[in-house]
Symmetry: C2
Subunit: 446 residues, 2 copies
């Protein structure tokens, strides 16, 4: 059973996608629709790191209603046989444009563009938003952690507090893309090839009669590779026990982990004790309620911490646990479409967007008509699926991760703050602006 | 492919669970451990609704390392052949005690108790916390929504903003347990038998040349069953269009949905227009950024809204996106265990907990030794799995839901506030208190 097998999830969709589909089917509305996925402004995020595309592509390629699915739909009495027959042969035959994973993007940019017969474009909506939102959410949080501590090892320790198993997997993948070095999630190691890390748990220490005995047992199985968890009873006694065991057994202390207490004070004292005992190469790993704000504070105060295990706050993006994002119809059958309900006006038309750099830094982004050329602009939307066939895929995660770190260097420093809100709003090209204004007048009738 | 098939996820575990397991294996530490799962105090939640147990039981029953899993573990070079062989035959053979799904619980109560050979009890930790945490998180949020609007229809519209597919499924299940009437999630309808609901999307209206045409098309396919989305362009024009179409076609308006704008003012005017046109039975469904606080405000102001679609805020539990919860070793090989690191002291010993009622309301909860009898107390922990075999299961979801609503009536009114923090702290029995104090002294050595 592969994790990705679970991704043939045609019924992982809102009911209205299927009921609307039946109307389109009966009314023979089978023309091409264009949908844009974008993120609305978020005052706690200056930028977003795009991730999750490869999971979406897997879903699109595997999408197929099974007989079991059809049977369930029949049992709801909401669907007619003709439509159920249509679903039997349903597959995604459209085009998928997307920015590359590992790109930095901003609010109101068309990050993903789907161009497909309208039924297809609708049925995939729920999964698309679901998977892309959490992927970007965690990737962005991870990059914020990386941004304040690029020289530290950051490890995803969040799977147990992620919202379900899928989130645990996506969090591992997204945080790796966002600059983390690995994860504690073994399945993510298997499925995604992400480096896996682990130390020991308090329960392990507690299961033994003494901390010293626990350390001895662990170190005898992993003599080269033990990170001792030293805060089960008393952190400073804990590090002394680790040193005692290492000296007695003649082994190295790969590192120690502190999971509670005043990390600044404790890490300094622990470092001192390790150093005076000759364990200068042993690392200190801190965990427990870590986020980018705490990492920054500890880094600013020069806490001698080499690695952070970031868990709950990373995987739930606790300071902003969701992105207001949308997947909006912008064209149907060649006609531009826009919504005018209060505060949620969308920009119509099939689009492209361009990034313009100056001195290696992002100067501005320009959202345009799809066929426009913006001078000196780098095209951000690339064709990944053409007529249902993959024509481009995300590179291996390691490469995406490297690309992220290169892309991050192009982000102007003003946007890198984790506390001050300062972001880039994409320009809309003159031509797109004009067509949009004209359409707005036409809809409003004045 | 069934959703639950994806739950054979033995590698969905933190690496340290497996490395510790190898140490236990090599050192022949195969005695029984007892772990307690509990939630730490949360100042935004006065109570928690327990859910997710049946998913955990499925996982425990299906847990098996495949040859593919073993091969991956071998490739990490962290495990020896003897241990990998042991994993080949790994299954859960322990006991699982739990409160029933649909019970109201409080912080610091041992909600789940696992009693198993220590390797087993550790390997299941990650999945247990992962699945139970999100299940309780959403169930609790749902019950808070229900608590302020018990006479309204509440529907889960959150799957697209849930953190991944698993969270989307769990959110549907948990919100139903928490008093919702159903979900938009079709797969949750199939897998869990939850009633499914849907209306139409803005894109559907926009795909047509006019709103009127969109309404006509939809209503002609579902003449008895259409909820018109009326805010794509202008809400009041929208309801007029719905009325026009219904009159022209001689059909009923099952309802209208408003997804934006000032819901109080709009719902009043929409109600008036429906009523004067003879559509007194048509319901008004509100959606868009709904949470328990907004529902309460609208209910308090007597907004004529019959149903709420609750999405993002429900499935991410946005005001408190995670529960600080833990799975702690309390006994190993018959010996009590406790951790003393700062601020995280745990209560040792295998436990039971009792609920004492007065006049049909919860008076207090008492946490005790497992074999204690608390007079007039109702035993909360029940045996679900005995020696690896299921001896009790959660009833059908519909029954759990009914039980939740009965249990909710036993909650003292003071705890029902969604804004004032007032909760119940379980008492620790005199005997358990005394044993704990003695153990603390013994560990500290004074």
């Amino acid at each position: 059973m592969r994790f990705t097998d679970c991704r043939n999830l045609p019924l992982f969709t809102d009911l209205y996608e299927l009921t609307m589909a039946q109307v389109y089917f009966e009314k023979k509305m089978d023309k091409t629709a264009v949908f844009n996925f974008f993120i609305r402004p978020n005052n706690k995020r200056n930028y977003f790191l795009f991730a999750g595309l490869d999971l979406l592509i897997d879903y699109l390629l595997n999408l197929k209603f099974t007989e079991d699915d059809i049977e369930f739909l029949r049992s709801t009495r909401k669907f007619k046989e003709e439509f159920l027959n249509y679903l039997r042969n349903f597959k995604f035959t459209g085009n998928l444009y997307s920015v590359d994973e590992g790109e930095i993007v901003f609010a109101n940019e068309p990050i993903i563009q789907v161009e497909a017969p309208i039924i297809q474009a609708q049925i995939i909506e729920t999964f698309l938003i679901n998977t892309i939102q959490i992927s970007i959410l965690v990737a962005t949080k991870a990059l914020r952690c990386y941004s304040v501590a690029p020289d530290k090892m950051l490890i995803d320790f969040g799977m147990r507090r992620a919202h379900g198993t899928d989130a645990g997997m996506i969090a591992a993948r997204s945080s790796y893309i966002g600059g983390f070095v690995g994860t504690s999630n073994v399945l993510a190691g298997k499925e995604f090839g992400i480096p896996i890390y682990g130390t020991m748990a308090h329960s392990f220490v507690m299961a033994h009669d003494t901390e010293e005995k626990a350390f001895e047992n662990f170190a005898s199985v992993y003599p080269e590779n033990t990170i001792f968890l030293i805060d089960t009873y008393d952190t400073l006694e804990g590090v002394k026990n680790a040193i005692k065991v290492a000296k007695k057994k003649g082994i190295r202390i790969k590192g120690v982990r502190i999971d509670s207490g005043d990390l600044l004070t404790l890490s300094r004292e622990v470092r001192r004790l390790l150093d005076i005992n000759g364990f200068r190469d042993s690392i200190i790993l801190a965990s427990g309620g870590i986020n980018e704000y705490k990492i920054k504070e500890l880094v600013d105060k020069k806490a001698p911490i080499d690695a952070f295990g970031v868990g709950t706050e990373l995987v739930t993006s606790a300071d902003t646990p969701y992105l207001d994002c949308a997947y909006k119809l912008v064209e149907y059958d060649g006609k531009p479409k826009m919504k005018l309900s209060s505060k949620k006006v969308t920009v119509p038309y099939k689009k492209q967007f361009y990034r313009i750099f100056r001195n290696g830094k992002i100067l501005k982004d320009v959202v345009s008509h799809f066929d426009e050329i913006v001078e000196n602009g780098v095209k951000m939307l690339k064709l990944y699926i053409k007529d249902g066939e993959v024509v481009r895929r995300s590179p291996p995660l390691q490469e995406i991760r490297e690309k992220t770190l290169i892309n991050f260097k192009t982000l102007p420093d003003t946007f890198k703050s984790i506390t001050q809100h300062m972001t880039l709003s994409p320009e809309v090209s003159q031509r797109l602006l004009k067509s949009t204004e004209e359409l707005k007048k036409a809809i409003r009738g004045f």
